[in-house]
């Protein structure tokens, strides 16, 4: 199962749970496996073509040597197949996550580099009350640590609050909260962002046009995120709001606090997901027990989930919010049944199962994917954006952090494939990112600068 743990960071209180926690889905755990097997049908063809195009063919010597060991593998149990599928198609899912994370980071870095607004210090959030303009290093360190403690405790409180609400089934409240916060994100922050970008490029825009643009953007965003919409549009919106949120963080968090907060959040993430009493783990388990997906507005999903709902007649009778959840449930149930059929279909691998409901299962089968919490996006982007903003080595540091985060994501996904339960996505990547940031900034930069000035190449 692929789920990533994500943390909440609070900006303004509605934004809190917006990003608060995203854990991966426990519900889709079985369905991911099934989905993998089922998606094999659609994907194997593509893979087959790719393999045929590569240097190997079944008649190759190397393949011949390996086929001996391949046969006993094939004869082994279903779980083995599941595992190998997990690992094999893990690559595809890793890429499905690489792309949005990369996009988000690119947006953030591009904005930071071009728009001055986000690197000016115009005050701090109330969550980080201690200023860092202190004369001594020790004082500054102390202030940043205090800031971090306050921020983390706010996040913990918000997360626990959200988990309690979820446990006591106050769905309406949670929904309302999410809607409010995403409203604010979509409208207010977009307005500010657009204003700053226009200011930077010296483009004049009148208020009515601005109003129409933002209204359209926001309304479509609300619909896409909270209700139904084309998957790619939903993904695009989620990326955009993550980027906006990250930009706000980069602007309003003072320097040292930002780094300490990043470190502390990854530790918190680790604990919240893995400890038995951690709030995020409880959330995931509760969702698992009730067989429900986690709120759609808080996770980035790389796969389609709502197509089933549109086709099934009885779900159409229910309300919109229920519909999405039921659709997900139906989706998962549908996924479980094709899997058994698929496993019996061994080598035929036709994407069209021999059952009446063909097209929609095909859609679900092919597109089961990975889910990553939005807060993860945000914190990755905060790290890279801060690197872009504050590092004097400019692009080298940014690039180094970028690669470090991607590798961390890879490793996390690998662990996910091995452990098959909700995992925190932040710690490994952020640790790598932090290490690389500080080391690149202090060690590599002088080296590269000196090399470049002498035009030496290594």
């Amino acid at each position: 199962m692929i789920t990533f743990m994500n943390n909440s960071d609070s900006e303004e209180e509605p934004c809190n749970e917006r990003t608060s926690l995203m854990s991966a889905e426990s519900p889709p755990v079985p369905s991911y496996q099934d989905g993998l097997q089922a998606s094999e049908a659609g994907e194997t063809q593509a893979h087959r073509k790719r393999r045929a195009g590569s240097s190997r063919s079944p008649n190759n010597i190397t393949a011949g040597e390996m086929s001996g060991s391949g046969v006993p593998v094939r004869e082994s149990a279903l779980e083995n197949e599941e595992e190998e599928l997990t690992l094999k198609y893990g690559a595809k899912h890793v890429i499905m996550l690489f792309v949005p994370v990369t996009l988000c980071m690119i947006v953030v870095v591009a904005t930071i580099k071009s728009v001055r607004f986000y690197t000016e210090k115009n005050g701090q959030l109330i969550y980080t009350p201690f200023s860092e303009d202190t004369p001594s290093v020790g004082q500054r360190l102390l202030n940043s640590v205090l800031n971090t403690i306050i921020m983390i405790s706010v996040i913990i409180v918000m997360t626990v609050f959200l988990v309690l609400l979820y446990k006591y089934r106050c769905y309406k409240f949670i929904h309302g909260w999410l809607i409010l916060s995403s409203l604010m994100l979509l409208f207010l922050f977009t307005y500010i962002y657009l204003g700053e970008v226009l200011k930077t490029y010296n483009v004049a825009m009148d208020y009515p046009t601005l109003f129409i643009v933002i209204w359209n953007f926001g309304a479509v965003g609300m619909i896409c995120i909270h209700w139904k919409g084309p998957l790619q549009l939903q993904q695009a919106y989620l990326i955009m709001i993550s980027a906006l949120m990250a930009l706000v963080f980069i602007k309003y968090l003072p320097e040292w606090s930002a780094w300490v907060i990043l470190g502390a959040i990854s530790i918190y993430d680790l604990m919240a997901v893995l400890c038995p009493k951690g709030p995020l783990r409880m959330l995931v388990e509760t969702a698992q027990e009730r067989n429900e997906p986690i709120f759609p507005a808080l996770i980035y999903s790389s796969a389609m989930m709502w197509t089933v709902g549109m086709a099934k007649p009885d779900t159409a009778a229910r309300g919109p919010s229920q519909q999405t959840w039921d659709a997900a449930e139906d989706g998962r149930e549908h996924l479980r049944s094709p899997s058994h059929a698929e496993s019996q279909m061994s080598e035929t691998r036709s994407p069209v199962p021999t059952r009446p409901v063909t097209s929609l299962e095909e859609l679900e089968e092919e597109e089961r994917g990975v889910k990553l919490g939005l807060g993860d996006f945000i914190f990755y982007s905060v790290l890279v954006g801060k690197a872009a903003a504050t590092a004097s080595g400019d692009w080298n540091t940014t690039l180094a952090c970028f690669v470090a985060i991607l590798i961390g994501l890879c490793l996390t996904l690998l662990l996910l494939a091995v452990f098959k339960k909700a995992l925190p996505a932040l710690p490994i990547s952020i640790t790598f990112g932090l290490i690389f940031y500080f080391s690149t900034d202090n060690l590599v930069r002088p080296f590269m600068d000196t090399l470049a000035s002498h035009q030496l190449y290594i």
């Binding site: 390996m66 391949g70 690669v403 080296f447 190449y457």
Partner: protein, 232 residues
């Protein structure tokens, strides 16, 4: 051109992208360690002595080259393990990616990262105002940097193939040849700004490495002709 290589050959297959990023990561780590060593050496020495600094720099360069090759070797080991894992888990006994492809992708990864690190600050500065070589330095700075970076990226790619091939078949002289080539190229860049001394040998070496890698990958003149004539 390297980016074009990426788009056309690597971007399709997710496994290759992962190998690419991991290769870039390994290069980065090697750079990190080598700059650590250099940094320590610089801090421990007299900052005023020009010749010593230059000497230290060259030492740093050589050390970095050696470290890069060491990391390439480590990466090779890792990929071997990965390929064994993939083969054991694949359903028809073939790994979805061959060691040669991995070698190619790893080489591109190394090359891309090295090129990016060499060029990107230059590019960023090039966007800004200024004149090239105003202080009496060469005016061709940007151009030569671009060419040098390109040759280095290609070289890394070829070295990757050669290196992995050498490791596969236990031909130590191939590995040694790669290391020596790398040292030569880096050493020749010391002759900058006497560009003749660095660019020309590098390009020659690149052509040689390209031909060698091509032959190793099973190509031949016939393949080339067939490729050029029929497009399938």
């Amino acid at each position: 051109p390297a980016f074009g290589l990426f788009i056309f050959t690597i971007a399709r297959d997710p496994l290759r992208i992962i190998i690419l990023i991991a290769g870039a990561f390994f290069w980065l780590v090697s750079l990190l360690l080598s700059s650590l060593i250099w940094f320590i050496a610089v801090k421990a020495s007299d900052p005023q002595d020009e010749r010593l600094q230059k000497g230290l720099l060259i030492f740093g360069v050589m050390f970095s080259v050696l470290l890069q090759e060491a990391f390439r070797f480590l990466y090779y080991k890792l990929l071997r393990k990965a390929i064994e894992g993939l083969v054991a888990l694949s359903e028809d006994g073939c790994s979805p990616i061959s060691i040669q492809q991995m070698a190619y992708v790893a080489g591109v990864g190394f090359g891309l990262m090295s090129g990016a690190f060499s060029m990107i600050n230059l590019l960023a500065d090039a966007l800004g105002p200024g004149t090239v070589g105003i202080h009496g330095d060469s005016q061709l700075y940007f151009l030569t940097s671009a060419f040098m970076t390109m040759v280095l990226i290609f070289l890394h790619t070829f070295w990757g193939i050669l290196f992995f091939h050498g490791c596969e078949h236990r031909r130590w002289w191939e590995i040694a040849a790669v290391v020596i080539m790398h040292l030569t190229v880096s050493g020749s860049s010391v002759c900058n700004p006497l560009y003749v001394g660095s660019l020309v040998p590098s390009y020659l070496l690149m052509a040689a490495a390209a031909a060698w890698a091509y032959l190793l990958s099973g190509g031949s003149a016939q393949n080339l002709r067939r490729f050029l004539l029929c497009k399938c």
